[in-house]
């Protein structure tokens, strides 16, 4: 393990400040980032597409504007990237079906990041349509975990986790239907933030399950993630899910103070399925939070992981299959085996089960809301297992649809709709990262980010980087 003391591992806000004060040229920064991508991407597979020429043009424009005193904000002149689910130029969703697809319009979040002056260096790897795990035999080679390249970086925002962890971008935007921002963040030792549902527009983002999909940033620090969120959030009439209730979360929210914060731990939900090495790191994180002045207490949820996952998967499979039905009917070649089978399974979900799952989702959200009456945030590991080895070929459907699904504790926040963040909380003895997840009340994103930032600053795990990519 190494710590971050090189420019490519600097935080977005650190380089942003140097760009603002003209100590650092956006053009030189972009050249350096592109050179690092060219050198490391063949081994890490983070990027599908690199926009070298347009990125340099954006960097030159940023440099000129800043020289004229027209600094637009923290993203101005800083290289970032988007998951290949956001419409922007070649947009494949990680599927051979869309291998030649070029988006006619760009996603709203891309437009907002561009308006904030970001230098967009490329499009990042994803599990197929944000769902089916990438394998070594796919049309697109899988992104590889910077901590162990024979393992998955977590998904579905695979490339986003890798790019931020390996110094190939200063931040990335992913999507999160059941944990796809927070899972790669946990497995790659970066920060992943899923805001309250509806705060970032999904217009122009290829959907998986429209009632559960969220957009969110992956970053090196909580402050970076906060800045990236602030740059693109806001109501969008082009997205019917976009909330008219908007919030402002800026750097001032990250006070570094959590004395008296009430943290609930729903052990009945996650502990029975959690690996001991992860539980050990999580318990140490709770001790640290208590030392910082938080009051940590038990908070039984009254729901099992299997109940939550079953509801999440029934909704996701049904909605994804409905969206993909024209592709399935057309019998066009291109959908991967695992994804195609999962979609066929989605077509077999009864209407009654789907409607019941929507009601169950409301009930789950109510249970979480009850806990959040007496607690400011809920804490749990992000995921109860370490990163899996990359599969050689498509996994059998019974690995995905099973009564013992992978212990992803992230789904709870997607069904609830409130904010959730994953921050690094240490390494397991195998040398693989572990993530701490904090969840909060809807629209109280500021409290979740403040708690995560305070822990991050005290614990220092956010500074760790894999030795393999100095």
């Amino acid at each position: 393990m190494t710590t971050a003391n090189k420019l490519h591992y600097a935080s977005l806000l650190e380089v942003s400040e140097q760009v603002r004060t003209r100590e650092l040229s956006p053009v030189e920064l972009t050249h350096a980032t592109l050179a690092r991508i060219e050198r490391l991407n063949p081994r890490l597979g983070a990027y599908y597409t690199v926009f070298a020429e347009t990125a340099l043009a954006q960097a030159r424009q940023a440099e000129a504007e800043i020289a004229e005193g027209r600094w637009r904000g923290p993203l101005h002149g800083v290289p970032i990237a988007f998951k290949d689910l956001y419409s922007l130029g070649p947009t494949t969703a990680g599927s051979r079906l869309l291998a030649d697809h070029v988006a006619a319009h760009e996603a709203a979040a891309v437009t907002r990041a561009r308006a904030a002056g970001a230098v967009i260096v490329g499009k990042l790897a994803t599990h197929e349509f944000a769902m089916a795990a990438a394998t070594l035999s796919d049309h697109f080679p899988p992104a590889r975990n910077p901590w162990d390249t024979d393992r998955t970086p977590g998904g579905s925002s695979t490339g986003a986790g890798v790019a931020v962890a390996a110094g190939l971008a200063f931040g990335a935007y992913g999507t999160d239907t059941g944990g796809s921002v927070r899972l790669p963040a946990s497995h790659c030792a970066v920060v992943g933030f899923k805001p309250t549902f509806g705060l970032i527009s999904l217009a122009g983002v290829i959907p998986l399950a429209p009632t559960l999909d969220h957009a969110g940033p992956l970053a090196r620090t909580v402050a970076d993630a906060t800045a990236m969120f602030a740059a693109v959030c806001g109501h969008d009439p082009d997205d019917p899910r976009s909330s008219v209730r908007q919030i402002a979360v800026g750097p001032n929210a990250l006070t570094g103070e959590i004395r008296g914060l009430r943290i609930g731990v729903p052990r009945d939900f996650w502990e029975p399925t959690c690996e001991p090495a992860i539980r050990t790191r999580f318990e140490a994180a709770l001790v640290r939070l208590e030392e910082l002045g938080a009051r940590v207490t038990e908070a039984p949820l009254g729901l099992s992981l299997l109940q939550v996952l079953a509801v999440g998967y029934v909704i996701t499979l049904t909605e994804a299959a409905a969206y993909q039905l024209p592709n399935l009917r057309s019998r066009r070649e291109g959908l991967g085996r695992e994804f195609g089978l999962a979609m066929r399974a989605g077509l077999l979900v009864s209407d009654r089960a789907y409607r019941a799952a929507l009601r169950a989702r409301a009930r789950i959200a109510t249970q979480v809301d009850k806990l959040l009456e007496d607690h400011d945030v809920l804490a749990m590991p992000t995921v109860g297992v370490l990163a899996d080895p990359l599969p050689a070929g498509p996994r059998p459907l019974s690995r995905r649809i099973t009564e013992n699904p992978a212990p992803q504790y992230t789904w709870l926040a997607n069904l609830h709709g409130g904010p959730a963040v994953s921050v690094p909380c240490g390494l397991a003895p195998e040398g693989l990262p572990v993530g701490l997840q904090l969840m909060g009340r809807s629209y109280d994103d500021a409290t979740v980010l403040r708690a995560a930032h305070t822990y991050e600053q005290a614990a220092g795990w956010g500074q760790m980087r894999s030795d393999f990519w100095p």
Binding site: V314, R344, A345, L347, L348, R352, L397
Partner: protein
């Protein structure tokens, strides 16, 4: 004589065909192998989503 797995596979393939979606023979067996777990998920969702007094009968066909 067909065994229950084969019959299940044929039923699932027929249900997909009704929706205009085909499936290869080797894939329908894989789908059939996962189907009991999918049914279990649906049952869990129904039990959790049903109003008190309107719970699905355990094992009811969905």
């Amino acid at each position: 004589m067909k065994d229950s797995t084969q019959e299940n596979s044929e039923t699932l393939a027929a249900r997909l065909e009704e929706l205009g979606v085909s499936i290869a023979p080797d894939q329908v067996e894989e789908l059939a192998a996962a189907y009991p777990a999918l049914l279990a998920w649906m049952r869990i969702a129904e039990e959790l989503g049903d109003e008190p007094g309107q719970r699905a009968t355990p094992g009811a066909k969905t």
